[in-house]
Symmetry: C5
Subunit: 363 residues, 5 copies
């Protein structure tokens, strides 16, 4: 019954009582690489691993610059990036504090967006993606290098869809949409696991199943915790009065919002089904108990009278002392009569249990 335990989320790192805005790097953070894309409808420049200073030069030439920071190990580079873009230190603290809920915070010149992406781990962990959306840039921070944004990169490179002809808000939308899209396969996989669990629970109540139902419920709980704030985050973006998000992009964000509603719907339905499975499992256990008890009861009620009869004629009353003492033992057909009596008792009892349907269909 050994279960693969998930690593407990260690949720918050800034030491208790530290002044707000203290930047502290998770010692397990991976190396930082900074990718940069700048583009408009006709031109595009890409740098796979730029220095912090090089970015200052790149930004501003073309209408959209996307700085994509992967891995949060290099505190100094991140701190200087924050300074170059004059980002608020509270937001920068949140970038490094990898346990934020999804949210949007409006600052004067930019929006600070936090979203969470399902991680590659076997269980439903999530990674934090932080995003700054300015008038001519999008700055993203990922916990670990990963492939979630690859489709966006190839759409930029290949000039696919309307990404190259739109502003940074559309880029931000495309990135958020890619994150949200990643939940669908997760939830579908979890839904299939749930179906298999259902089939197994209905088929047979093995003790190991309750643990699996419990883990399933936990995973769905985590998924809900991850998706629910995405909905609020998208809602804030749709309702924002900031001119950083255009009405056209809001149309796309509404579509993205619909997807989170759909995700919530799927998770909630699965949660209710998982909850119902507990009842199915418990009733299944009771049924097995009933069956076990029936087997015992049938054996006991059949054999106890038989054993009694056998024991009865095993008594040692002295037939010589009195004609009243166990005369059956001396009868000519005494033994066959005893056997017949036993057979009748057994048949009657078995017929009784058959009539009560304890024997037959189920047992």
């Amino acid at each position: 019954m050994a279960r693969p335990r998930k690593v407990r989320r260690h949720r918050r790192r800034t030491p208790v009582g530290a002044p707000p805005g203290t930047l502290i790097v998770d010692p397990q953070s991976t190396r930082t690489t900074i990718g940069v894309f700048t583009y408009d409808g006709s031109r595009m420049a890409e740098e796979a691993d730029a220095g912090v200073d090089a970015i200052a030069g790149l930004k501003g030439d073309l209408p959209v610059t996307w700085i994509d920071v992967q891995g949060l190990g290099d505190l100094e580079a991140i701190r200087r990036l924050g300074e170059n873009f004059t980002l608020h230190h509270l937001a920068m603290e949140d970038v490094l504090n990898l346990h934020q809920r999804s949210k949007v915070e409006e600052y004067d010149d930019y929006l600070f967006i936090v979203t969470r992406m399902p991680a590659d781990t076997p269980r439903s962990d999530t990674e934090q993606i932080s995003m700054f959306l300015g008038h001519d840039f999008v700055l993203t921070f990922q916990e670990r290098p990963g492939h979630v944004f690859d489709p966006i990169r190839s759409r930029i490179r290949g000039h696919k869809g309307r990404i190259r002809t739109s502003g940074p808000d559309y880029l931000a939308y495309a990135l958020i949409d890619a994150v949200i899209d990643n939940y669908f396969p997760i939830i579908e996989r979890s839904g299939e696991a749930l179906e298999q669990l259902e089939d197994r629970v209905v088929a047979k109540a093995e003790p190991v199943l309750m643990g699996e139902i419990h883990d399933m419920k936990r995973d769905l709980l985590e998924l809900r915790r991850a998706i629910w704030p995405q909905r609020e985050m998208l809602n804030s973006l749709i309702r924002t009065e900031s001119d950083l998000v255009t009405d056209t992009t809001k149309l796309y964000l509404r579509d993205c919002y619909d997807h989170t509603i759909q995700l919530m719907d799927m998770v909630e339905t699965d949660r209710e089904i998982a909850l119902g499975l507990v009842d199915v499992y418990l009733s299944s256990l009771s049924n097995r108990m009933n069956e076990i008890m029936k087997v015992l009861t049938i054996f006991a009620t059949v054999f106890m009278p038989l054993s009694f009869i056998a024991g009865f004629y095993g008594m040692n009353f002295d037939r010589g002392a009195s004609p009243w003492n166990m005369p059956e033992l001396g009868w000519y057909y005494g033994y066959p009569a005893a056997i017949a009596m036993m057979a009748i008792v057994a048949v009657v009892l078995i017929a009784y249990f058959r009539r009560r349907r304890w024997i037959g269909r189920e047992t």
Copy 2:
């Protein structure tokens, strides 16, 4: 205990990371046929299977044109329809993505309405119906050819009710109303199934019933998921400020809204009853266990003392060695006395169980 399993909804098809508005056809989609009705109070033209280009010619002559697309297999035709009516590509994507929740989206010149209809399958699946409502047209898309709109067609042909003298908004209402109406027989059938389940659960706790209760709860969950957004969708239509929906039609939509409330009411009541059935079932299991245990206990407690007495007089103490050794075996009435003792023990125990009501009414 083999249950007919429903096919798991594979809920979303656009590949993860594809640009929004990508039109991708479900490979299992059926052939596309496009029916067209144009009418006013006095005139009416009908075409059973029109080409996309023919529609351009039909539309606009009469105040209401209904283009009814059945089967979503012909991507090219659907794409061109979307272009001819200048429909937004996000809406067109939703038309083909058959797992939308019911909703209304307002665009400048038309409303995009999604609703879900109970499918003809044995279990409570639903089909998506997408609808565009413009100033002089209604454009509907159905997953599969079906008869849900037949009453509307015959009302148009037969000039029944006020459909021919009203605008496209009334037609849209009539179509939505036909969809909603189709839930009533579904829920009534499910309600009757629930009643039969209730009767069976109360009568006897068969192991197979828990699986049926679980399936019933799942079906009701799916129904609720389908109906709940209909309510929001109708509410949006009633509250819309768009001039596409007249106040008169809103009166009818309010009636339709009342029907969804009634549907929700029925589903919620049935859900609570189904939930209560779990308790009835579990208590029924416990009752059976109690009965089984009673049978065992009665047999065991009656026969164990009897067997003990029989075994007692089966002991082989040497009567010759001492007058203290089992003198009963040599008594004249020893054997009848032993039988009498057994009979008394049995009668006393049975009387005890009868007084405790373990024997009689129930067992």
Copy 3:
């Protein structure tokens, strides 16, 4: 365990797909009689069974006319009434569709009010009462002739209270209040039944009780479904901006609203108690099981060692073959010693069970 089953509400009759406003009469409807009252503070005219045409003559002479239609069997008369009062066909459809939730709909010249009254049946069914409130008339439709409005009639006749000196809105209030008042005895009766059920469940867990708890929960569910919309209906009347309801009458409606709150309160409390009863019942079952098992265990654990001892001395080892073979059988006090050993074992075990409190207070 045969339970009197309630007839399942067949909830909606208009055929699926029929145009809205189709008037269809329930074939089980009773004969229609139309009573008419017209009155002001000094004059009053009453007609017990008026023709539809006669009503046209009566209406309008005095400030308040109450047309009271009982039984919905005469479709033609009802249709013509609707026309005479120029009532909307959607509202008229709802009058005949006897499965509406309580509601208020505002039309230009009248309010359409639906309320539900507890029926005379043993279980908690409800009847629909539809009401049109105009500037100088109240038109009510009852499913079946009944006595619910008798107190109002005698107050009109006897000039009791302020009914004769008030307008039609006060009459409508008085009628609604009479309907709401009828729920109190129903809920009090149900509350008393619940108390008796509580006492029985706490006293002894008979198998039949779970079915009764389930039925009780269903009945309370139905009551809640009937009362909840009354609250919304009254709230709409209190908040209406229509001049059909005066501020004075709203004061009375507020009182009536308080009563529905009180009703809901009683129903919800009873529902929670009924829900708690399930736990009491299940724990009671477990307790009985424990008691049964204790009886079995005490008997088994006492008699098994005794039977073993008896069986032990029933072994046939050949004492002649060896002095080691069962010398006890030849001892002078062998038999009394065996009896003493048995007695000691029994006493020790019984003392053990008494110390664990398995014997004594409970068993």
Copy 4:
């Protein structure tokens, strides 16, 4: 298992269908006494049992007059009081209908306030206190004479606090505050009872406990039903736009409102704990069952093989007929060997149960 049953609240007395505002006295009502206080900062007059007419003379001389009616037996006096103060007949009906929820109703010249006070009965019944707050008077009605307002009386007499220098709204606040304060000891007592119940349930699952948990849940339900509307009532008073309540007094009412929040908090917490106790109790029952079954199983599995061996050597195969027939019986160490075999079986089984921890710690 006889429980002290509480008298069921007979909740409403006005006969069904009576005109609103009918004043009907509960026949069990106690004698009416009317106490009067009039005061300002410097002067004070008190009358312990004034006549209705005397009150007319007292009122108006000093800025605050408090008429305190205790016992509702004298319908005539109450009716005349209502007339003298020109109180609305609907409000007067509520004064006598002792089953109102707490509420505030605003009339032109006064506020009508209903609150409920915990009664002196052992179980959590409540008494109704009705209050009219005018510009220069407070008129209170209590079901039964009681001491709840004694502290207020002595504060008026002793000129303690700011009661003498404030208006009637402060007096009304002080009275409501006294009522609310009375819930604290009730809930604390109930909380202590709950703690004792917790300890007993965790210690040992006696059958009587489930009934007590159920009663506890009922009592908390009643308390919640009593306190919840107090909160709304106070909220209405704080938010009222009437000039009868000054801003200074609202500050005090806010404090009082905080107390009801605190009360609700305590009741809700206790309710959740009580709900959790059901699980603890049920699991405790299961644990006991497990223990009982273990005792049975250990005894049965140890003694059944032993008895079988004894029975085996009790067989009567004729050793003379064949050397194959039970030669063990004639062995020199046959009997000791049999005993040894039994001992080994017993030791092995007991070791097995000890290893599975069925024996030892728990049993």
Copy 5:
């Protein structure tokens, strides 16, 4: 099963009926010490234990004065502090009434803030911290001297962060943030305890675990009760229109608000997991019962037929009286045949149980 019981919160001390604003000191309160900090960006004065009168001299010189009262034993000093700062007596009463929920109350010249801090006790008790925020001072009251504010003190002394250059609202924020921060380790510890509990419950259903789950649920309930109002309190501070809180500080308070949301999230998740544990535990109990019953049933069903056969051949029918009487006893291979029969029965039964999987994997 002795559990360390927590001391029941004795929740409210002002005697029932006392006039509002009565200052009463908890007799268990600790000695009062008053620390004072005054500072601006460049200067700072600190006094560890100031007299009430000395404070009057200190306040006002520098823009921020923090008076930090620890221990509430000295009623007179506290009363005079309240007078010196002209604080409302209702607020002062709440300072001493140590069972307030977190809240903000706005007075003309200051805000009164109550927050609750996790106490140092093993169980999840909380301590009350009251705070007055004025234009140039912050006045805090702590139940007991403690170290929660030490980081703030050292930040003031060390001129770390922006505390010295900000106003009293930032100081208030920093103090509240320090309080909120203290919940994180508490909840993480509780989360780890929950994980260990999960592992133990899944591993083995020991009776003691249910009590621990119950206590865990209680603790989480208390934590929720403590944190929930913090959220409202911070929300009030963020939305306040008072000029006592600047927009810059509100940005920090929003960050703090996010932390409480995160705390609630963690507590709610843990609560749901703890709730699910009850099901796991109960199913685990049922599983153990099943296993126990299987052991019993296997032993009983195997040995009962064997014992019957042995008993059967222990019957004493007189072989001399008839050739029909137990001829088997005289057969040459009678005894081996009986043994073979027993062996076959045993093997068949064991094979049966093995096929049903009662033996093998699980037992």
